[in-house]
Every structure is written in C-alpha cells, then in structure tokens.
C-alpha cells in the first residue's frame, strides 16, 4: 500500500474525509464484474427457455443489465 493510500485509509477511518472517489470506483468495478457474470448466466438461461413469457422477462433483464454495465463502464472511463 502506497503512503497516499494509507493516509486516505486512515482519514476515512477517522471520518476526516468521506468515502472518496477511489472507493466508489472500486465498488462500481466490482458490481460491473458481477453484472457481466450475471448477463452470461441469463443468456444461457434464455437459450434453454421455451416459455414465451419467461423468455420476454429474461430479455428484459438482459437489456437492463446491458444498460447498467454500460453506465458503469462510462463512469469508470471518465
């Protein structure tokens, strides 16, 4: 851990600074990773699903995840 990171951690612990951008980005990165995995699972489920209503629900879910991953990536790229 670099000196700056260590100081940030201590400042966070003592409540001197609020959650900084770095930890927000870290949280988003983690979430995007999880969402990507979930998208793969949902795509596999869609391939095997024959019920029309369930297929539509799965498609909706995949669309939402796609948008969320894009949102996350946009924030991370900034």
């Amino acid at each position: 851990m670099s000196g700056e990171k260590f100081i940030n951690k201590i400042q966070e612990l003592f409540g001197i600074i609020s959650q900084n951008d770095e930890s927000k980005r870290k949280a988003i990165k983690e979430l995007v990773k999880k969402l990507k995995k979930r998208r793969i699972t949902l795509k596999n489920e869609l391939r095997e699903e024959s019920n029309l209503i369930k297929r539509e629900t799965l498609k909706d879910n995949i669309k939402i995840i796609k948008k969320q991953i894009k949102k996350g990536k946009d924030i991370l790229d900034d």
Binding site: A27, I28, L31, N61, K63, K67, G72
Partner: protein
C-alpha cells in the same frame, strides 16, 4: 416517593453542611467530579459520530478483541458508563452480537482500574487543582467554538478540569475532617465489617450513579486515613456491585438485547463480588505479597487499593471471558421475547432512546424498524389482494396463486392499521425528528431518505386500502372481463411484491441491482398496458360505466402501490451499506432510462 427522598436528602445535607465545612467541601468535590464526568461523556459523544463507531465495528469481531477494545476505550475516556452505553446501543442496532457486548463490558471493568491507578498514583500526591484551572479555561473557550470537534474537545477538557477540581475538594475536605474527627473510630472489623461497608458502597454508587466517583471518594478518604484499608476494600466491592444497578436502570429504555447485556453485567459483577467477599483476607495477603514487586510502599494504601481493584476486575475477566458463550445461552434462555399473535398490537422492535446517542446506530435502527413496518404493510397489502404473504414467498407460479385464491378475503384493513402500523409509524417519525435535531447535517442526510421511505410505505398501504373495496367485489364478479382485469392487477402486484422480497433478502448485490431497475420498468410497463386495456374494454362496452370508473381508480391505486414500494425497496437497499451506497446508486437506471425502455415497442408487447 422519589420527590420525598429528594427533599429529605436536601434537608439532611443542609444540616450536615451547617455542622461541618469539611462535609460541604467533600460533597462539593463529589458534585464537581460528577459534573466533570458528565462533561467528559458529552465531549466524547462529539467524536463518536465516526471514529468510535468505526473502531467498534472493526475491532470487536471476537470476544477477546472486544475485551481489549472495552479496556482501551474506557482507559481513554475514563467512563465505563459511556462505553457500556455504546455497547448497548450497538447491540440494539445489531452491529455487534451479545458475546462481543459482554466482552466490551468485561474490558470496560479493566479500563476503570486505570482511573484508580491514576488517582492513587498522581491525583492524591500532587496539587491536582493547579492542572484543573488551565483545562477549564481552554475547555470553556473551545466549547464556544462552532466546530463540532473543537466543541467536543472543549467538553473533554472541562470534564477533566472539573474532575481534577472535584478530587482536590474531596482531598481538602477529608484533610480538614481529620483535624476535627477521626472517622476510623466507626470502622468495623471482620466479616461483619465487610458486609456493612459493601452495602454502603452499593448505596453510594446507586446514589451517585457512578462507581468511578465512589472509587475516588474511597481513595481520597483512604489517603486521608479516614477509613481503614479493609473497609475501603469492602466499599470497592460495593461500588462494583452498585454499578450494575445503575446499568440495569439505564437498560430499561434499551432494546431486548440491551437488557440482556445489562443482565450479563449484573451476573458478572455480582458473582465476582460474592466470590471475593468470602476471600478478602486472602486478597489482602496477595496484595501484601505482590505490592513490593510493583514498587508500592508498605503504607501506600491508596495504591494498594488500586491494585486490589485491578485484581478484582482481572478475576472477572479470567472467570467470565471463557464462559461468554455459555452466558449468552443462559441469557437467551432467561430473556425470551414474546411472539406476537395476529390479533395483538405490534410495537417497535429496534427503536429505543439509547439508539439516539450515536448517528450510526440511529441510522441502522431506523433502517431495521422501517423494514419491520414494511413487513407489516407487505402482509396487509397481500391480504388486500385476497392472498396470503406465504403465497408470495412460495415458489408457486403466479397463475396458480390466482387460481387457488379465487375467493375474496375479507380483512379489516382499518383494524390492521390501528394494531400493526399506526404506532410503529408514529414512533419511527418521532425518532427521526429527534435524531435530526441531535446530529450533524451529514448524519441527517442519511436519515431523511429512510424517513421518506416510511411515508411511502404508509402511502402504499392507503392505496391498498382504497383498492380493497372493489377488489372484494370484482374478483368474484360474474363479468369475466372485469374479473380478469382485477386478477391482472393482482398478478402484477404479486410479481412486484415477490421481487421486493428478493431484493431485501438476497445476498447477491447484482441480483438486487437488476431487480430494482426491473421493478421500476415493470411499474411503467404495467401502467401503459393497463391504460390500453381499459380503453379497449370501454370502447367495446364489455364493462359498465361504474366498473370502468372503479377500474380506472384502482389501476391508479395499483400503480401507487407498485411505485411507492419500488421506491422503498430502492431506499432500503441503497442505504443498507454506506460504503457501497454510491456505487449502487450509480448503476441503477434513472427515470428517463426506464421510460425509454418502457416505451420501446419491443418491450411493450411483453407487458
């Protein structure tokens, strides 16, 4: 009775003051010392908004760490009372378990011994009042500053200043007393003396509400040779017993788990004291044997008493730390929470006055109580749809639930509101308002959305209540079209309620994030589809005007229920973890994105 006691105390003290200036000096010393303790506690409360809470969460994950935490914080703050309050408050909020709480109490007992050492080692040997003066001046200067941290520091300094000044007055009083009367003539030797002086110690601690103050009084009296060493030990045992009564009284306003912790404190101190009472001569011999190794002079009884106090509390830890799990089992067996019958009044489960002491606990307690209210409203909304909450939790297909529950379920929603919602809602709002008046702007920013979630929960209930009237009629209607429409409302709300349950119960963050956006999308899609269907039914004369009006109103109510509860799920999930809050919020779809998706022709057909 309480008032009579107060009047008698005032009369008694006034008489004593007129008789002896020394008694006045000692009593003033005790009063100033107690004032100092209060100021010290107030000062540390300014720092608990972040620092202490975070330490507590991080360093109390097992019993032994909790013991160390309790010892260190009590040493620093010189107030086992405040540390116990923090422990009770955190247990009530569910931040730490009962076993960690017991660990903290054990540690706090050790922490109090440092105070005894400081007073016996320095306080009674130097002119302590000299140090008090600058502390009081600088402390008061800081109190008038606008910065919270400086204000806190001010209270800590004045607290220390007053404590020092109080000790000085007590010392002076006992020194002057010595010249006129020798109190040791009233000393009682033997086991009888131990019992009587233990009782006096208990009484003094209950009156002063502080074992620390009792201990200081004993030390100053002992240093002035106004009590015998053996009687002082008995008084100290009494102080350790009396402090548990103070804790039990303090825990009356605490949650169920807070009461268990006060019970643990009582068991620990009382059983150790009872054990020690029988072995006072043995302890005296042990102190006589070990004191020279620590450089304590033969006639320095104040330090010997501090050593005794340390042995007593170390014995507490040695006996009870390995038994913490067993004690938790015993307390869980003794304190059994009554299960609520459906017809009974429900009350708040987490909110308590102690949770108002710290912003973190206030937020967590508020969040938990909101979930409690949500659970109650969830149950009645399900019944308003003529289904049971168990149907929602079951894995049954929604179509099958509708087939199974085709009969109207007549429940009195007003009665349910009176018994299971009104009081809890009122107490939540009152708690939030009190908390808002107490904490900083930053802390309040976290409380306001949770308060709003409660308002939304009740709005959803009201909509369900309005909708129930027609629901009862039309799900058993002969007109298949209107029946289908109402069943469609039911299906949609069951789906929404099911998703909300998943969001609030899942451990998978990505699932919750996905479902939250899905909830919003489904609310929009349903609204579009329902309006289209209604237009169609009216145009083709399949339902009467009265039915159309009811359906139109109830579609709006159904939308309100779904919308408000989706917002509630959103708030509860987002605010569950402060560290992840911003990341979670960033990935949720906003209104425009949801509208875009809902109005997309490809998605409309699925509604």
């Amino acid at each position: 009775m309480k008032r009579l006691l107060l009047i008698l105390t005032i009369i008694g003290l006034s008489y004593a003051f007129a008789q002896s200036k020394s008694i006045l000096s000692i009593s003033a010393g005790v009063a100033i010392f107690l004032l100092g303790m209060l100021s010290l506690e107030e000062g540390f409360r300014f720092f608990t908004g972040g620092l202490l809470d975070k330490f507590l969460k991080k360093f109390t994950n097992n019993v032994y760490k909790s013991v160390i935490f309790g010892a260190v914080t009590t040493t620093l703050m010189q107030s086992s009372g405040l540390v116990s309050v923090i422990a009770i408050s955190f247990i009530s909020a569910g931040l730490i378990g009962l076993s960690q709480g017991i660990g903290i109490v054990l540690g706090a007992n050790i922490g109090t011994t440092t105070g005894a050492w400081l007073i016996a080692g320095f306080g009674l040997k130097i002119s302590i009042a000299t140090y008090a003066m600058p502390m009081l001046v600088f402390g008061t200067l800081f109190i008038f500053q606008s910065s919270r941290r400086l204000k806190g520091l001010g209270y800590v300094l004045t607290g220390l200043g007053f404590s020092f000044l109080g000790i000085a007055y007590m010392k002076e009083g006992f020194e002057a007393f010595k010249e006129t009367i020798d109190l040791t003539q009233y000393s009682i030797e033997g086991f009888k003396g131990i019992l009587i002086f233990t009782a006096i110690g208990i009484g003094a601690t209950i009156i002063m509400q502080s074992s620390h103050a009792t201990l200081v009084l004993i030390l100053t009296a002992l240093a002035a040779s106004q009590i015998t060493y053996e009687n002082a030990i008995a008084l100290t045992i009494g102080a350790n017993m009396g402090t548990t009564i103070t804790a039990v009284i303090g825990a009356l306003g605490a949650s169920f788990d807070g009461k268990k912790l006060a019970g643990a404190h009582f068991i620990i101190n009382i059983s150790t004291a009872l054990l020690v009472i029988g072995f006072v001569p043995f302890f005296i011999n042990m102190i006589e044997f070990t004191a020279p190794f620590l450089g304590i002079a033969h006639d320095d009884y104040a330090l010997k008493l501090a050593l005794y106090h340390t042995y007593f509390n170390l014995l507490c830890v040695a006996i009870f730390a390995p038994l913490v799990d067993k004690m938790v089992m015993l307390l869980n067996y003794v304190f059994v929470q009554k299960k609520l019958e459906a017809s009974e009044m429900d009350d708040v489960m987490y909110i308590n006055d102690l949770a108002l002491d710290f912003p973190d606990t206030a937020q967590i307690v508020l969040l938990k109580e909101t979930k409690h209210l949500f659970t109650n409203v969830f149950e009645i909304i399900a019944k308003g749809l003529s289904i049971y909450k168990e149907d929602i939790f079951s894995g049954m297909e929604i179509e099958d639930i509708i087939k199974l529950r085709h009969k109207a379920l007549h429940v009195n929603m007003d009665e349910f509101y009176e018994k299971r919602i009104k009081d809890i809602y009122g107490k939540i709002i009152t708690f939030t308002i009190l908390a808002q008046g107490k904490f900083s702007e930053d802390a309040n920013k976290k409380l306001i959305p949770i308060k709003n979630a409660n308002i939304r929960i009740v709005e959803a209930f009201k909509a369900a209540k309005h909708m129930q009237k027609n629901m009862l009629v039309y799900i058993e209607s002969d007109n298949e079209f209107i029946k289908n429409e109402y069943n469609h409302i039911r299906k949609n709300l069951i789906k929404q309620l099911r998703n909300m349950q998943l969001i609030l119960n899942t451990n998978e963050e990505d699932v919750a994030i996905l479902l939250l956006s899905k909830l919003k999308l489904d609310v929009q899609k349903y609204d579009i589809a329902a309006n289209k269907s209604l237009d169609n039914l009216i145009r083709t004369n399949k339902i009467t005007y009265a039915m159309a009006t009811s359906l139109m109103n109830d579609t709006t109510y159904a939308y309100t229920i779904a919308f408000e509860l989706a917002e509630v799920a959103n708030i509860l999930f987002i605010h569950e973890d402060d560290d992840l809050k911003e990341g979670r919020e960033a990935l949720l779809l906003n209104e425009n994105e949801v509208d875009d998706m809902a109005n997309n022709p490809n998605t409309r057909k699925s509604a």
